[in-house]
C-alpha cells in the first residue's frame, strides 16, 4: 500500500501530462464508440425515444435482410478496392518516372500533388459540373465533339460508382506518388548500376529491385487508401447523394441518412458496429498479406 502511494506520487506529474489527452480522447471518441455497442442492441429510435429496451440481435438481423443496407456494404467494398488498386497502380509508375533526372521534376511534383490539398467536397461539386449532361458539362462537350452520344456519368446506376471513384483517384494519386517518391530516394543507386552491368532490362530491374524495396511505401499506401476508401462519404454527398437508385450509397452515407436523419438510432448503431468489424477485418487480412510478402 505504502509502496503504491510512493510510486503514485512519483508518477503523479506524468499522469498530469497524460490527463488532458486521455480525457479528450475518452470523452469524444471512446465513450461514443462504446455507447454505439450498447445502442446497437436496443430499440432506440426517433419514434421510440424514451422506452428503450434491449432487443438482442434484432437490429443486426434487420440489416442483413434489408436490400439498401446490403447494397451500401457491397458498394463500399467495391469502392474501397477499386480506389486502392487504381491509386496505387497509377502512383507507382508516376513516382518511378519522376524519380529520373528531370529538369521540371519539382514543378511536376507540385502539380500532381495539388488536388490533395483541397476539400473533397469542393472537388465533388467541381466534378459534378464536369460530368454534367447539361450543355455546360465539359467532359460531355468533348464526348459529343468526338461524335459520340452523351454519357450520363452520375445518372446511370451502372457507371455512377466508377465515376465517383475516378474523381478520388484523380485527387489523391499525387499524394501517394509523393510517398512512393520518398521511398524510391532511399534505394541506393548502386543496385541499379549493378543491374545494368548484368544487362537487366528496365522491366526486370523494376520487378526485382524497385518493387521489393518499395514494400514499406506499398504497405502504408495500400492500407491507408483502403481505410479511407471504406470511410468514403464527402464525395458521394457532393456528387450523387447516394443515388441513382442507391447505386452509390455507402456505409457512412446510410448511417447518416437512416441513423440520424430518419431516426433509426438502434439500426444505425448496429450498422456502425458492422462497419467497424469490416474495417478491422479487412485491415488485418491486408496487413497479413503484406507481412507475407515482406518475409518472402
Amino acid at each position: 500500500m505504502n509502496r503504491l502511494a510512493v510510486s503514485f506520487r512519483k508518477e503523479a506529474i506524468y499522469i498530469f501530462f497524460l490527463a488532458p489527452a486521455i480525457l479528450l480522447y475518452f470523452t469524444f471518441f471512446i465513450l461514443p464508440s462504446l455507447q454505439t455497442f450498447y445502442y446497437s442492441f436496443t430499440n432506440w429510435s426517433d419514434v421510440n425515444p424514451v422506452d428503450v429496451t434491449f432487443v438482442g440481435f434484432k437490429n443486426f438481423a434487420v440489416l442483413l435482410r434489408d436490400e439498401v443496407y446490403l447494397k451500401g456494404i457491397t458498394n463500399t467494398f467495391t469502392y474501397a478496392i477499386l480506389y486502392m488498386v487504381f491509386v496505387n497502380v497509377c502512383a507507382i509508375p508516376l513516382a518511378v518516372a519522376l524519380n529520373q533526372k528531370l529538369v521540371t521534376r519539382s514543378l511536376l511534383r507540385s502539380i500532381f500533388f495539388l488536388p490533395a490539398v483541397f476539400s473533397v467536397l469542393v472537388i465533388g461539386f467541381l466534378w459534378s459540373f464536369l460530368y454534367s449532361t447539361s450543355d455546360f458539362g465539359l467532359i460531355n462537350q468533348i464526348v459529343t465533339g468526338l461524335g459520340f452520344e452523351k454519357i450520363n456519368f452520375l445518372g446511370n446506376p451502372k457507371i455512377a460508382l466508377y465515376a465517383v471513384v475516378f474523381t478520388q483517384v484523380w485527387q489523391f494519386v499525387g499524394y501517394n506518388m509523393v510517398i512512393y517518391l520518398a521511398n524510391l530516394q532511399t534505394i541506393p543507386s548502386d543496385y541499379y548500376e549493378a543491374a545494368k552491368m548484368d544487362g537487366a532490362t528496365g522491366l526486370q530491374t523494376f520487378r526485382s529491385i524497385t518493387l521489393p524495396l518499395l514494400l514499406p511505401a506499398i504497405s502504408f499506401c495500400t492500407v491507408m487508401t483502403m481505410i479511407n476508401g471504406l470511410k468514403v462519404f464527402d464525395i458521394v454527398f457532393a456528387l450523387t447523394g447516394g443515388g441513382p437508385a442507391h447505386a452509390t450509397e455507402t456505409i457512412i452515407s446510410l448511417m447518416i441518412t437512416k441513423g440520424i436523419n430518419e431516426g433509426f438510432y438502434g439500426q444505425g448503431s448496429a450498422f456502425g458496429i458492422v462497419f467497424m468489424l469490416l474495417v478491422l477485418l479487412l485491415t488485418t487480412v491486408h496487413l497479413r498479406v503484406i507481412k507475407y510478402l515482406e518475409n518472402r
Binding site: 489527452a21 469524444f28 471518441f29 454505439t36 518516372a97 476539400s119 469542393v122 441513423g259
Partner: protein, 276 residues
C-alpha cells in the same frame, strides 16, 4: 549510348508535362470560369476570359457570408492545432520516456483511434454534445476535431521524441529542474520539425472536415466555408457562373497556404508514412 539516354529522358519529360497539363485541367477550368459570364463559359469553356468580370466574386462573397465563415474556419483550425500540439506532445513525452508497461497500453489505446473510424460513434456523440449544450458552438466542433487528430499526432510525436537524446534532460534533472519545466524549456524546443508536421496535418484536417460542422453547426453566424458552399449550391445549381467563384473562394485559402509553404506541406503530409 549516353545521348540515347538523354533523348529518352527528354521524351519522358515532355510526356509527363503533357500528362500534368491534362491532369490539372479541372483546376484551371475552375479558375478561368470564375471570371466569365454563363454564356461565355458555355461557348468557350477553356479559353482565357475575354470580358474579364469580377462581378461574380462580389456576389459570391456576399451570399456566402465569406468573411464570417472564414473567421470561423480560422478560429477552429488555430484552436484545434493548439490543443492537439499541447495535449499530444505532452502525452507522447510520457509514453516515449517512461518505460512502465501501463504507458505502453495507453499508447495502444490511442492507436486504436487511427484504425477505428470515428464515424462509428456519431449518434451517441450527437447526444453527448447536446447534453453538454455544445450544439451550434465552435467549442464543440473544436473539441471533436481536436480529438480526431490526437491519435496520429501522438504517434508522430512519440516516434520523434524517441530519437531525441536524453542527456540534456538528465542534466536539467540533476540541476534540480522539475519534469514540467524540463519538458517545456528543453524537450519541447527540440520538437520543432514534428510540431510543424502535426500543425499542417491538423490544420488541413480541421479545415477540410465537412461532416462535423454539418452535424453540429446550425446557425449561419457559426457557418464555416464548406457549410456555406453547401448551402449555396442548393440555391444556385443552375447559375453556375455564380457558383464557380464560390468553389474557388472556398479553396483559395488552401491554395495560398499550399503555394507559400509547399515544401513543408508536401513533407508534412507524407511524414510518418515511410519512416513510421
Amino acid at each position: 549510348m549516353e545521348s540515347k539516354r538523354t533523348i529518352s529522358l527528354k521524351l519522358l519529360e515532355i510526356g509527363l508535362l503533357v500528362l500534368a497539363a491534362v491532369f490539372i485541367i479541372p483546376v484551371y477550368y475552375l479558375f478561368v470560369t470564375t471570371f466569365k459570364t454563363s454564356e461565355e463559359a458555355l461557348l468557350h469553356p477553356l479559353r482565357v476570359p475575354l470580358n474579364f468580370t469580377l462581378e461574380n466574386y462580389t456576389s459570391a462573397l456576399e451570399s456566402m457570408k465569406y468573411f464570417t465563415a472564414l473567421k470561423n474556419n480560422v478560429i477552429i483550425s488555430v484552436a484545434g492545432v493548439t490543443i492537439v500540439i499541447l495535449f499530444s506532445s505532452m502525452a507522447a513525452y510520457v509514453i516515449a520516456r517512461r518505460k512502465r508497461k501501463v504507458y505502453g497500453y495507453i499508447f495502444m489505446f490511442f492507436l486504436t483511434g487511427i484504425m477505428v473510424p470515428y464515424q462509428m460513434g456519431l449518434l451517441p456523440l450527437y447526444k453527448l454534445i447536446s447534453s453538454l449544450d455544445l450544439i451550434n458552438t465552435l467549442t464543440g466542433v473544436i473539441l471533436i476535431e481536436a480529438c480526431y487528430s490526437l491519435p496520429l499526432a501522438i504517434f508522430l510525436f512519440r516516434n520523434f521524441i524517441d530519437s531525441v537524446p536524453l542527456e540534456l534532460e538528465e542534466a536539467a534533472f540533476i540541476d534540480g529542474c522539475g519534469v514540467f519545466r524540463t519538458y517545456w524549456t528543453i524537450t519541447f524546443r527540440l520538437l520543432t520539425p514534428v510540431v510543424a508536421t502535426v500543425a499542417i496535418l491538423t490544420a488541413l484536417a480541421t479545415w477540410n472536415n465537412f461532416l462535423t460542422p454539418l452535424l453540429f453547426l446550425h446557425s449561419r453566424e457559426k457557418g464555416v466555408l464548406l457549410l456555406e458552399l453547401y448551402r449555396n449550391v442548393g440555391e444556385f445549381t443552375i447559375d453556375y457562373a455564380r457558383l464557380f467563384p464560390m468553389l474557388f473562394l472556398t479553396i483559395l485559402p488552401l491554395m495560398l497556404f499550399y503555394l507559400s509553404m509547399q515544401r513543408f506541406i508536401i513533407e508534412g503530409m507524407t511524414a510518418g508514412s515511410v519512416k513510421g
